[in-house]
């Protein structure tokens, strides 16, 4: 049985029908993980801990205490702290670090305990590779080597949640968690032919998620289908009193609209009444022809499903890059100050005094991109530069959000590409960080505005590499975005394609 191709719904059914136990399912994935180790999708795997959790999940099931996700394996991005698995955020700085507590997301999805009696009961397969401290768009900034794209292992997986995308695309996990600060769920999902959603800022708790840029970071699922993402998001998005920016619990089932028509007025065409906006700035110079064609073809299909297409404008799209690369490094420079070698993490073995201990520990512990962003961030917050950079960026951030608000008076969902191009070759852009930053142009603005946005497969390039389309919705419209993607996935099969050689 090709369990790796099954959706969560199908796995859930098989578990209920006792076609397979959680333990057997985990053994299946553990074996695949070993076999495809060269993809470098995982940073820490503890088979015994996985088995132990699977046995607990099977017990819960036999006691009649199983929910829809109980016993289904999941991979967690290494940015979420875990008690059993080492958590490094792919940094040498945290090599070997074990957290005394589980991130709220990990606890909410894991085996129920006294703290989380309502937990979903999923089984952790391990921690996935990523760009160091989630800074990067290719997973090449991992201190432990890049995760390789299963569609072409000479290509990048995307980032920063590259390991999670690779794990799901290669069938090394049914689904995975990711985080998205400037596109880190959507872009690797697009590069690996997957579906991923970054919810509205505040939906998913950031407690236990190693902070990169606190006002932009948001966790979400990376899976094979919109339906899978809806199921996982419903279990992830809970209110957390330990995160002051956590939204009140809406108790939402994010899958409730999946099979509903958009509007009750016209049930024959499932998306009749939906207004899709195409921002002209998203289809301007710099967009690869293959990508543009695939997204426009998807537009046609959505139109065929009844959607009304209109052009909208997001005039400050270009500015999202400088704004993001001021604000995110500013927050990062402060968030990463705690890694000072004093209490935990890497400490240089030789130093003369306190200052040298700081300097050496941090110089040795952080990679080049992390250092670059700490420098940028410290600079833009410095006395005399703060107004010109940080404050100015905050002002434009508000204008970007206002542009979206304006666009959403004309449409319900914005459609565009996720990235300007498909997965590039390993090493192609590592020499030029600015070139890499430009790859984030279509994804950054949703983070800056705090809007929900998702990526879904919509075609392949001439080289046979996956292309993703991006759907951006208004605040709290996750269920609607998933509905659009799900309806699209009912009439397309891009999301069903699997990379070759991953048997």
């Amino acid at each position: 049985m090709n369990w790796q191709h099954q959706t969560l719904q199908s796995l859930s059914k098989s578990l209920i029908n006792k076609e397979i136990s959680s333990l057997e399912l985990c053994e299946f994935f553990l074996e695949r993980m070993t076999r495809h180790q060269h993809l470098n999708a995982y940073l820490d795997v503890l088979p015994d801990q996985t088995r132990e959790q699977a046995i607990r999940a099977d017990q819960l099931r036999s006691q009649g205490l199983a929910g829809p996700l109980t016993g289904i394996p999941i991979a967690h991005k290494d940015v979420f702290v875990t008690k059993e698995w080492v958590t490094t955020a792919a940094s040498k700085m945290l090599a070997g670090y074990k957290s005394p507590f589980n991130a709220t997301v990990v606890a909410a999805l894991g085996i129920p305990d006294d703290d989380q009696p309502q937990a979903a009961g999923m089984v952790c397969l391990g921690k996935t590779n990523m760009d160091e401290f989630a800074m990067g768009s290719s997973n090449e900034n991992s201190a432990f080597g890049p995760a390789l794209n299963p569609w072409d292992i000479r290509r990048v997986s995307g980032g920063s949640s590259g390991g999670s995308a690779v794990a799901v695309a290669a069938g090394l996990a049914p689904i995975a968690t990711g985080t998205d600060t400037g596109g880190s769920i959507r872009q690797p999902a697009a590069f690996c032919g997957l579906t991923g959603i970054k919810p509205t800022y505040g939906r998913v708790s950031r407690y236990g998620m190693i902070a990169y840029a606190s006002s932009l970071d948001q966790a979400g699922p990376i899976g094979k289908t919109a339906e899978d993402c809806a199921l996982l998001l419903s279990a992830m998005a809970i209110h957390d009193p330990r995160d002051s920016t956590s939204l009140a619990d809406s108790g939402e089932d994010y899958g409730r609209f999946l099979n509903q028509p958009w509007s009750e007025a016209d049930v024959k065409k499932p998306l009749a009444g939906l207004r899709i906006g195409l921002p002209k700035e998203f289809f301007a110079e710099g967009l690869a022809h293959d990508v543009a064609q695939a997204v426009l073809a998807a537009k046609e299909q959505l139109q065929a499903l009844g959607a009304f297409i209109t052009e909208v404008s997001l005039p400050k799209t270009q500015l999202s890059i400088p704004v993001y690369y001021v604000l995110a490094p500013a927050e990062a420079s402060s968030n990463l100050s705690r890694y000072d070698g004093v209490r935990y993490g890497h400490r240089a073995s030789n130093y003369f005094d306190l200052m040298e201990m700081y300097q050496r520990s941090r110089s040795e512990g952080f990679g080049a991109e992390v250092k670059r962003r700490i420098l940028i961030g410290s600079y833009v917050l410095s006395h005399g530069y703060y107004d010109a950079y940080y404050l100015q960026a905050q002002k434009i951030r508000r204008i970007i959000a206002a542009d979206f608000a304006q666009a959403f008076t004309q449409c319900d969902v914005i459609l565009g590409p996720v990235a300007p191009d498909v997965a590039w070759g390993l090493g192609d852009k590592t020499k030029d960080p600015l070139q890499m930053y430009l790859e984030d142009i279509y994804t950054l603005s949703a983070n800056l505005a705090g809007l929900p946005a998702m990526s879904a497969p919509c075609g392949f390039s001439g080289d046979g590499l996956p292309i993703g389309m991006q759907l951006i919705g208004n605040y709290f419209s996750e269920a609607r975005l998933l509905q659009v993607a799900h309806q699209y996935q009912q009439v397309s099969d891009w999301h069903l394609r699997r990379p070759e050689g991953m048997a």
Partner: protein
């Protein structure tokens, strides 16, 4: 010789009285083993986030209301970034541009003159941990520095004045008034030894009459009123001498050394760090609705200034007595309770008792009013027996000391009336008994009687003393006075 004017502004860090820390659930109890009261949030482990303590905000609002300040409807927490081992996150969360409390004033009395000290602001922030440099060794016995993070995250309210004080005495008077107010409000325990209340003084001097300020120095971490006074006095002398010798004051941070009684340079303005302040994205703006403020206002204790004017107008107390009775809440509560029990017409008696016998006993036993060892009902009965003439004033004092000392060694309390009865301490009010005593004394002291008759008024007092002695202090002084004078004049 030039005359100099001293300009002082104070920044006071008051530790807010909360169960848990300002952004975590760890306990704020003082004195625990190092690092036993620091949780994941205080240690700044990867992934942790701050959550604001509601009680800390309530304390800030309460303080703001007490000084007539504005409570900001929306204030912002910022990050102050710097590296130090006792600062686990590498930044301190503090309010920077928009503090929770703006303005306000505190009244002080110096040399009988009342002065208003204007406040600039008061803002919430977290304390850092402590570095232990002394008597600390590493694992191999080598000298080392230790870090105790128990204090990290303790809520502080930093209270900042305008540069309006003009002498060390005014600064101390302000610090004392502020100290008594925050303790009165229950927002701070006021324990200066434990660091719950510590002052930084900004000191400058300028030629008398000059309007612009001189260059200031900031003296950090003064944790006693005496150090505050000494440090300012030293610093003022230093600055004046420096300028008069042709030098200039350099803006810098200084530390006070109480052993040498001098201030020393800690770091100059040039070394000042760039703290790269920016709003903390982990915390939402602190929004305070007016109904929350009103709720806190409704639960506020009466303020000392209000009570003082009330007592002066209703009971005719002197400003001095009112000041003593309102020095802390326990004293004021005791006064008000005794007045309630004995009646307003005896307020003056109660005031005299508290300011006199009680104050000296507390002082002698090194206790404060909230540690009163005896029951208030005992005091009530004692004062009543004195007021109704059952016992003399002198006897009342003796009984008070008796029950006080008994209570200190945990003797079971004996009812006042029983003490009076058993020890026969009732005032002699029977005129016959008194006459017998007087006659006896007159007979035995013919010399004094002669002296009195020859015009020596002093002899009269000696005779009174003799009768008192014979009565074991139980004679009613007024009655005795009248009787003795009558006898001497008639005899």
């Amino acid at each position: 010789m030039m005359k100099w004017e001293v300009v002082i502004g104070l920044e006071t860090h008051t530790q807010l009285l909360t169960q848990s820390k300002i952004f975590s659930g760890a306990s704020t109890q003082f004195g625990a083993q190092p690092n036993t009261q620091a949780c994941a949030v205080d240690l700044a482990l990867p992934g942790v986030l701050p959550v604001l303590n509601r009680q800390a905000v309530e304390h800030a609002i309460r303080f703001g209301l007490a000084i007539g300040a504005q409570i900001s409807p929306r204030s912002i927490f910022a990050r102050k970034n710097y590296f130090y081992p006792d600062l686990p996150k590498g930044y301190q969360i503090s309010q920077y541009e928009i503090p929770v409390v703006v303005g306000g004033q505190i009244e002080i009395v110096v040399d009988g003159q009342t002065k208003v000290v204007e406040l600039t602001r008061a803002h919430l922030e977290e304390d850092a941990g402590k570095s232990v440099h002394e008597n600390f060794t590493g694992p191999h016995g080598e000298p080392a520095s230790g870090i105790d993070l128990n204090r990290a995250g303790t809520p502080l309210l930093e209270i900042v004045t305008e540069p309006v004080m003009r002498s060390a005495a005014e600064a101390v008077a302000y610090a004392k008034a502020l100290h008594s107010l925050v303790v009165w409000l229950g927002v701070c325990d006021g324990n200066m030894q434990e660091g719950s209340f510590r002052c930084d003084a900004n000191v400058s001097v300028r030629p008398m009459g000059q309007t612009e300020f001189g260059t200031r120095c900031e003296i950090k971490n003064l944790n006693s009123f005496r150090f505050l006074e000494e440090a300012i006095q030293y610093e003022v002398r230093r600055q004046i001498e420096l300028i008069e010798d042709g030098g200039t004051v350099v803006q810098e941070t200084r530390l006070y050394d109480p052993d040498l009684q001098e201030t020393r340079s800690m770091r100059s303005k040039e070394d000042a760090q760039d703290y790269r302040y920016f709003p903390d994205p982990d915390l939402l703006p602190l929004v305070i609705h007016s109904d929350w403020i009103e709720e806190i206002r409704a639960g506020m204790p009466a303020l000392p200034a209000t009570l003082r004017s009330q007592w002066q107008s209703e009971y005719g107390l002197s400003p001095y007595d009112s000041q003593i009775l309102s020095q802390d809440r326990a004293t004021a509560d005791l006064f008000m309770e005794l007045v309630r029990r004995l009646g307003a017409k005896h307020a003056k008696t109660v005031a005299n008792f508290i300011a006199g016998d009680l104050a000296s006993s507390l002082n002698r036993s090194n206790l404060s009013a909230h540690e009163l060892p005896i029951d208030i009902a005992q005091i009530e009965t004692l004062l009543n027996r004195s007021l109704d003439g059952t016992i003399s004033n002198k006897i009342a004092k003796e009984i008070f000391i008796l029950i006080w000392e008994g209570a200190l060694v945990n003797k079971p309390a004996i009812p006042i009336d029983e003490i009076i009865e058993q020890r026969g301490l009732k005032q002699i009010t029977d005129i016959g008994a008194l006459e017998a005593l007087v006659d006896g004394v007159l007979r035995a002291n013919t010399k004094s009687v002669e002296e009195f008759k020859s015009g020596k008024e002093k002899a009269f007092n000696a005779l009174i003393g003799q009768v008192m002695k014979a009565s074991q202090g139980k004679a009613n002084p007024q009655q005795l006075n009248e009787l003795l004078r009558k006898k001497l004049q008639s005899g």
